[in-house]
């Protein structure tokens, strides 16, 4: 073999390897897109029997009864919405405080280090352990409260689930709020300080207006988290199929009905109706995430 032939061979070899490298990378990126698409299609196709059999009634019928083959998801929609919103309302003052504490008052130093690590730790505790802990602390606490108020002392229910859910989403929303608080341009704040504003006034009239949409994005993304939270809620909500009428009522959420009934669903429509619940959950959380991430990204560009 001549030198030239050998060199050509080496070049071909390199080109082949380079092509392989590029193709593998592009393939992986396309694969991710395809997988998400296939996930959606799988859910959609598997929900068809239920969509055909039930139709739009799925969203306003409040009877979920496998025996008579009736599947209305309204109780779960109500349960999910109620627990998630209540959890958000409970968590907002706390996550806002932590966001301001870490983003404005104490951005550095050992106090904020301890707090940051503590919150990260809280975010890392598995949901099933939160649920287990909640069964032994939050449930008795709510039961005592119910006794004092004269409600039936069940303990489990919407309120217990919401309190636990609030504890679980605080780390997430707090870290998002801290992110946007720390991104407020310091020239704006310094301008206000030099005019004699107090810190409260700077927060009230400079920081909060500046990050209003960022806070909404943080709350929106936490809502996405709360909607999909399964184990902790399942363990504390009581799992009854009825639209909750008070905070102390037991209920059920979309995620927890799937967790409870999916492996036992035998009928074709029953099985498919549970998947339709999953499809709806998929669509709602995806929508919430896309909007939330878009708003947050706008801050990072600024």
């Amino acid at each position: 073999m001549t030198d030239i032939q050998e060199r050509e061979k080496a070049t071909r070899y390199l080109n082949f390897r380079e092509g392989l490298y590029q193709k593998t990378l592009s393939f992986s990126a396309v694969l991710i897109i395809l997988l998400i698409g296939c996930m959606f299609l799988t859910l959609l196709i598997s929900s068809i029997p239920s969509i055909r059999a039930i139709g739009i009634k799925f969203f306003y019928n409040s009877a979920w009864d496998p025996v008579s083959d009736q599947y209305g998801a309204l109780p779960f929609l109500a349960g999910t919405l109620l627990t998630s919103l209540l959890a958000l309302i409970i968590s907002i003052p706390f996550s806002l405080s932590i966001g301001l504490f870490l983003g404005e008052y104490f951005p550095n130093g050992w106090i904020s280090n301890i707090l940051k690590n503590g919150i990260e730790l809280l975010a890392g505790i598995p949901s099933v352990i939160f649920g287990f802990w909640g069964m032994f602390t939050i449930v008795p606490f709510v039961r005592d409260l119910e006794m004092k108020l004269g409600a039936p002392p069940i303990g489990v229910g919407i309120l217990s689930a919401s309190i636990l859910l609030a504890i679980m989403i605080i780390p997430y929303s707090a870290s998002l709020i801290r992110l946007v608080v720390s991104m407020v341009p310091s020239t704006l704040k310094e301008g206000a300080y030099s005019l004699g504003a107090t810190r409260f006034e700077v927060i009230r009239y400079i920081i909060i207006p500046h990050i209003r949409s960022g806070i909404s994005a943080g709350i929106l993304l936490s809502l996405g988290r709360a909607l999909g939270e399964t184990m902790a809620v399942t363990m504390l909500i009581g799992n009854t199929v009825a639209i909750p009428k008070s905070l102390f009522d037991t209920g059920n959420t979309m995620a927890s009905v799937i967790a409870n009934e999916f492996t036992e669903a035998t009928g074709k429509v029953y099985f498919s109706a549970l998947i339709e619940v999953g499809l709806f959950l998929f669509l709602v959380t995806t929508l919430i995430n896309v909007i939330g991430v878009k708003i947050i990204k706008r801050y990072q560009v600024q």
């Binding site: 990378l25 992986s28 694969l31 405080s97 099933v128 352990i129 409260f200 998929f282 959380t285």
Partner: protein, 281 residues
């Protein structure tokens, strides 16, 4: 009166007090959870907890060997599936951030991160469990792999973007082929960040329960066959927590203790790695 200096400073101080108070209150559940797990868990743990299978109700003792082995195996296979794909996508993202595929794939990763774990569980059930007619540990691994991907992809992309272009150019100028430059120069320089993403991903899925309910399913016996149902720590905690028996609650506390210890250990590991091998240029 409303704008007097005294009023304004007082309002400022009160607001600061409220912020500090509410912040400290949040640490309360954290301390309570950790304290509860620690005190209840430590009393449940002894040597046989790690070496024995769970015993039926009424018999004291027994351990969660099957769950510990199962968790390790499920997570090991999940990591093996997720790491190559995640790093490849991250590499693609680093060098092609202006293409259309990038824009769509990037949103796809964001969407994947937001999908509730239970929905991913349903999808993998429909893909892997229903066609084979059998719950299997490998389907659980695939589910967890999906949940690890976003963290691996994002950390790979972000770390590798920190590696300066001049280093890449220097390597290319020395005649190193492009693919070799990427794999032998750029990736090793960002290794700590990639490892961090992998560990964080593992920490995120180690406690996942919901999607395993219909994939790995759980198994009261020791099993090393990835085609068969397998126990895992989160599943055993759930099953024993909702049971009415004190013996089983005790096992669940012990399992919770181990699981939290693992997650905590992984978190500390990433912190140390971050401090020691931080990518700086």
């Amino acid at each position: 009166m409303r704008s007097s200096f005294a009023y304004r400073t007082a309002r400022n101080a009160v607001f600061k007090g409220i912020i500090i108070l509410l912040t400290l209150v949040t640490l309360f559940p954290l301390i309570a959870v950790l304290y509860h797990i620690f005190t209840e868990g430590i009393s449940a743990i002894n040597w046989s907890f790690f070496t024995h299978l769970p015993k039926p109700v009424g018999e004291t003792g027994g351990g969660v060997l099957n769950a510990i082995a199962g968790s390790l195996l499920i997570i090991l296979f999940a990591t093996l599936i997720a790491v190559p794909v995640g790093v490849a996508v991250g590499l693609y993202f680093r060098d092609n951030s202006k293409t259309k595929v990038y824009a769509v794939a990037h949103s796809a990763v964001d969407i994947l991160q937001g999908i509730p774990s239970i929905v991913i569980g349903i999808i993998i059930y429909l893909w892997l469990v229903k066609p084979t007619g059998q719950f299997s540990s490998i389907s659980g691994s695939v589910t967890l792999a999906f949940m690890m991907l976003p963290s691996i992809i994002k950390s790979t992309e972000e770390t590798l973007k920190l590696v300066p272009e001049s280093i890449k150019e220097a390597s290319l100028a020395l005649g190193v082929p492009h693919y070799k430059t990427m794999l032998r120069v750029i990736v090793p320089m960002g290794m700590s960040g990639i490892l961090n993403g992998i560990i964080l991903g593992i920490a995120r899925v180690a406690g996942e329960t919901a999607p395993l309910l219909f994939t790995a399913f759980g198994n009261p016996f020791l099993n090393f066959n990835i085609g068969k149902p397998m126990a895992s720590l989160p599943l055993i905690i759930f099953n024993y927590a909702i049971s009415p028996y004190d013996d089983w609650h005790k096992l669940a506390w012990g399992a919770s203790f181990i699981l939290v210890a693992i997650v905590l250990f992984l978190n500390i590991l990433t912190k140390l790695a971050e401090r020691k091998w931080k990518v700086q240029f």
